[in-house]
């Protein structure tokens, strides 16, 4: 296991200690529990936005806590849900009387715990709504979207909802926007190598030296097909196909694009992929309003990438391009692509 760590059991807490030490002006925690992470800044009257999920996906989830995006995050063990109690502590801390929206990925463990947390919050008269990201087109067929995993595309949901809350929208309005962003977003991933969970100590799955798996999830969930690693352009074409079909993109549609490395893939390769995405979108007359290339939702050291597209209307475009300043994502005012 080629990792920089001390005791595997201490990995997540030591990572969090590093996070708090590096970003003391932006991040802190509540309930005397490092895993109950909240933004230092409080904006009175603003709808609170919370997320949560397993560790091992940085910048997800906690990296987007900050100005213009989220207010808090319950942090789980590697690939593990945080507890309902932790979510509840975060909820109490960030509620400014305007209610709290949970935005998280469609994983059973997270759902069970966020549901429990919602019940706890309601007992304290905090209004809580949820939007559950399910952007991964590879994880279930059309018509069964409720079974799909949430992956990197949740970034767009955070961004849109965060900007909406920043604009002063109500909980219902922020939820409407988050849900609109969710419904407009699709992601497809591809993996080339496995990741290693520190406490497990060996690769989650094995894959041949010249193989790829299209559609694999960010915990190593199986994809659509495994086969020989194809040239980058062919990989991109295969990944884009269902996304384009489902979003019904065509002449004049406008999108934002996220090319996401899973942790072990160099950024150079992500740009080789974006080159092809740009060609394909251009060929179909699709306008690209904004592009992000880098690591946004990883799977530890997994080699691989995902492509997310969000179809924009004027409102989503405004919110997606609004400024943000979080430890892992900064966008200056008037950031186009």
């Amino acid at each position: 296991m080629k990792k920089f760590l001390n005791e595997p059991e201490a990995f997540v807490d030591e990572m969090l200690e590093g996070i708090y030490a590096a970003h003391p002006q932006q991040l802190t925690y509540v309930a005397d529990d490092k895993r109950c992470l909240v933004s230092v800044a409080r904006q009175p009257g603003k709808v609170g936005l919370a997320t949560g999920g397993g560790s091992g996906h940085l910048p997800l989830f906690l990296g987007y806590v900050g100005r213009g995006m989220l207010d808090g995050c319950a942090v789980g063990g590697v690939f593990q849900s945080p507890s309902a109690q932790q979510m509840f502590e975060v909820t109490k801390a960030i509620d400014q009387g305007a209610g709290v929206l949970y935005i998280y990925g469609n994983y059973t463990g997270d759902i069970l715990n966020f549901d429990m947390a919602t019940e706890l919050a309601e007992m304290e008269n905090i209004r809580v709504l949820s939007v559950v990201g399910n952007d991964d087109v590879a994880s279930s067929v059309q018509g069964e979207e409720h079974k799909r995993r949430g992956v990197a595309g949740i970034f767009f949901v955070y961004k849109a909802a965060g900007a909406a809350a920043e604009e002063g929208m109500s909980l219902d309005e922020v939820t409407r926007v988050a849900d609109k962003a969710r419904l407009a977003t699709r992601t497809m991933g591809v993996a080339l190598s496995s990741c290693i969970v520190p406490e497990v100590g060996h690769a989650t799955f094995s894959i041949g030296e010249r193989e790829m798996e299209i559609g694999m999830g960010i915990h190593g969930e199986p994809g659509i097909r495994r086969g020989p690693l194809l040239p980058a352009d062919a990989v991109v074409d295969e990944m884009l196909k269902p996304i384009l079909a489902e979003l019904q993109l065509g002449q004049g549609s406008e999108v934002a694009v996220l090319v996401n490395g899973l942790g072990g893939t160099p950024q150079e390769e992500l740009y080789v992929m974006y080159r092809r995405i740009h060609q394909v979108l251009g060929g179909q007359g699709v306008q690209v309003a904004q592009v992000h290339v880098g690591e946004f939702a990883t799977a530890m050291e997994m080699a691989g990438a995902s492509i997310s597209l969000i179809k924009l209307d004027d409102e989503l475009k405004r919110l997606i391009t609004a400024p943000a300043d979080t430890p892992f994502f900064r966008q200056h005012p008037q950031a186009g692509r």
Partner: protein, 221 residues
């Protein structure tokens, strides 16, 4: 032993802790086939925490019924193991404990009540139906067996021996099912032939209860 009294919970949870420590690698492997390999880790952690919570609760003394330490065990599991099975198991113990708040000890009737609340809590939270290849596919038959034993007035030991046998059979039956929930669901057909990991945990718990009572019984006789 015909009833599990409050002080004996220490031994029961000690046993559960040992079982999930011993089964750690086996559960990792089982969950690894169509899941994320965490089940052994989370259950191990969960039952360490549960054991300690029960000990703390017993040490605190007090006149609460036997349900209270069971609730505390559930809350400890919720905190220590917030995975799918951790949260469902936590829900099970919290609900089961709540059903026994007024009880002094666990006999066959109390055990049936415990597992009724456990089962219903898991179903309410997880929304799985029978045949979905989950923990519920062990909990359902197990519960029916216990309720029948309670109705027939069977002693705790016999009730547990029967319930374990039913659970083992129900567990075996999960092999023929196709996963509909959680991480295994994406494997669909691939999950057929494999024993469900969560159902295995359900069986291990009832098995530990049986072994605890049987062994105590043998110690007595």
């Amino acid at each position: 032993m015909d009833r599990i009294g409050k002080p004996e919970l220490a031994g029961l949870f000690q046993r559960l802790r040992e079982v999930f420590s011993q089964q750690r690698e086996a559960l990792i492997a089982l969950d690894g086939k169509v899941g994320d390999s965490d089940l052994g880790i989370t259950m191990n952690k969960g039952f360490i925490a549960a054991h300690e919570a029960v000990l703390a609760q017993l040490a605190a003394g007090g006149t609460d019924g036997i349900g209270k330490p069971l609730q505390m065990a559930g809350m400890a599991i919720a905190k220590a193991a917030p995975s799918t099975m951790g949260t469902l198991t936590a829900t099970g113990f919290m609900r089961g404990g709540k059903a026994l708040l007024a009880a002094e000890a666990i006999g066959t009737a109390e055990l049936a009540a415990f597992w009724r609340a456990y089962h219903d809590g898991v179903v309410e939270r997880g929304k799985a139906k029978p045949g979905d290849k989950t923990l519920v596919d062990v909990l359902g038959p197990l519960l029916q067996s216990l309720e029948a034993s309670a109705a027939a007035g069977l002693p705790l030991r016999e009730a547990l021996v029967q319930a374990e046998a039913v659970a083992a059979q129900a567990l075996e039956a999960t092999k023929t099912m196709t996963a509909q929930h959680g991480k295994a669901a994406v494997f669909r057909e691939k999950s057929v032939g494999l024993q469900d990991a969560g159902a295995t945990v359900g069986h291990l718990i009832i098995q530990a209860m049986r072994d605890h009572v049987v062994q105590a019984h043998e110690g007595q006789s």
